[in-house]
């Protein structure tokens, strides 16, 4: 169980590193996909346990440490999104194309909502998305497309990725 947990944490760290390095080379109008978010949604949806939420907190804290965001910002957003995906765990069948696309897209919109909630709570120190700006919708699109690939890859790794109790 610990091995699987560490493996999934390792996957998330690699995705975070990709996000901060190589992904910027293929950014669309300066916007990059949030690969770690997509992976957390997958893990939290496929495992009804707390694996997704714990990984969300950890990956969020790591992301905050290499980002301009205050420590705890991504941690909250990723934990909260994992909690939402957890609540939906097992309620949908994930096909190859449609559902990953929907999860990637709505997950990003949810992220924007949680960021907006934090900006209300903590004031101007917290950056939130402009709902009419291109960044949010472009990121949602990129995350949706990334989810097609990531969900397929992660579903192949499920046996070594998800801890006990997964579907």
């Amino acid at each position: 169980m610990l091995k699987r947990f560490l493996f999934s944490a390792g996957v998330l760290i690699i995705l975070l590193l990709l996000q901060s390095t190589w992904m910027h080379a293929i950014a669309v109008y300066g916007v990059i996909p949030d690969l770690s978010l997509v992976a957390i949604i997958f893990i939290a949806f496929r495992n009804p346990g707390l694996q997704g939420q714990v990984l969300g907190l950890g990956a969020g804290l790591l992301q905050d440490s290499i980002s301009g965001a205050p420590l705890g910002y991504s941690a909250f957003i990723k934990t909260a999104i994992a909690w939402t995906a957890n609540a939906l765990s097992g309620k949908f069948y994930i096909d190859r194309i449609f559902m990953p696309f929907v999860f990637g897209f709505t997950g990003t919109l949810l992220k924007a909502l949680y960021a907006y909630f934090l900006s209300i709570l903590f004031g101007p120190v917290i950056e939130s998305y402009n709902f009419l700006g291109y960044v949010l919708w472009l990121e949602a699109g990129l995350n949706a497309v990334s989810a097609l690939v990531l969900f397929w890859i992660l579903s192949r790794l499920e046996k070594v990725l998800l801890t006990a109790g997964s579907y």
Partner: protein
């Protein structure tokens, strides 16, 4: 079956604990009480970021080396011609330098520069789309300190990039001038009016200059150079920041609002210089 409700309650409590933990961390960090955990994680992760960047750069460089060879030949020919031109210029330069020394003495200026600079390479950018910081490969070990100014050379200009906001052992985080949390005390080089440059949070949007007196309206022109004023202790004076792109005189404002285009194209930034100030100099915190 009897375990069902109890297990669900325990899981809900654990979820609430995780969310609360992240909120507590956020509460503490927004009040700047946390520094060490961030620095530790930054130091560790930046080591891996360097690895990823090195691998990426290796492949990019290999592919680009063929094109580079041709460009090098062209550049070589061009530079040879420039060397000839510079020979002529050098003679004029030495005359001007002597004249400059004489004039400086008359104006009682200090000739020695107060600044030192440390070169650094950008190894990673912010993993999120809302924040615009980037990581450089020099940190506390190389003498980098928080709030030092960062500049870069591009197309013959030395331009302001931003400031160091976080320092790890061998890497640091830099916030660019177009970041919405960035404020730079600036001066219009020609007309000498002061203002405060504020980022709008996107490299595609101009930087705004506020608090420029209304009487400057007739003197400010499109393309006027904007430099740091040094009134704010973070940035040393005289560093080029950008050029005026638009002047707005809004009735409801008591000052002019200028749009400025940075002189540095942040999209093709690879190397930067972190400016340090000698112990006897001003401008470092």
């Amino acid at each position: 079956m009897a375990k069902g409700p109890g297990l669900a309650v325990r899981k809900s409590l654990a979820s609430a604990l995780l969310v609360t933990t992240s909120l507590v961390i956020l509460t503490v960090s927004t009040r700047s009480l946390v520094g060490v955990p961030e620095q530790l994680a930054l130091t560790v992760l930046s080591t891996f970021q360097k690895g990823f960047t090195t691998v990426g750069v290796f492949f990019t460089d290999t592919a680009g080396s063929i094109v580079s060879l041709r460009r090098l030949q062209e550049n070589y020919d061009e530079l040879l011609k420039r060397v000839e031109d510079l020979g002529t210029l050098e003679r004029s330069y030495s005359e001007l330098k002597q004249e400059n020394v004489r004039l400086r003495e008359q104006l009682d200026y200090s000739i020695e520069s107060n600044y030192t600079s440390t070169s650094a390479r950008i190894i990673a950018r912010d993993p999120s789309n809302l924040h615009l910081t980037f990581m450089i490969n020099k940190g506390g070990l190389h003498g980098i300190r928080k709030n030092q100014a960062v500049v870069a050379f591009q197309d013959g200009f030395e331009g302001l990039i931003g400031r160091v906001v976080e320092v790890g052992r061998s890497s640091s985080m830099v916030a660019p001038i177009y970041d919405s949390t960035s404020f730079v005390a600036v001066r219009l080089e020609r007309s000498r009016y002061d203002g405060l440059a504020v980022g709008l949070g996107s490299p595609d949007e101009p930087v705004l200059i506020n608090y420029v007196k209304k009487r400057a309206k007739d003197e400010v022109q499109f393309g006027d150079m904007v430099v740091t004023s040094g009134l704010q202790s973070l940035y040393p004076p005289g560093i080029v920041v950008g050029r005026v792109r638009k002047v707005r005189d809004l009735d409801y404002l008591t000052s002019l609002e200028l749009e400025m285009e940075p002189v540095i194209d942040f999209g093709r930034l690879e190397y930067v210089f972190v400016i340090g100030v000698h112990d006897d100099g001003s401008g470092d915190r």
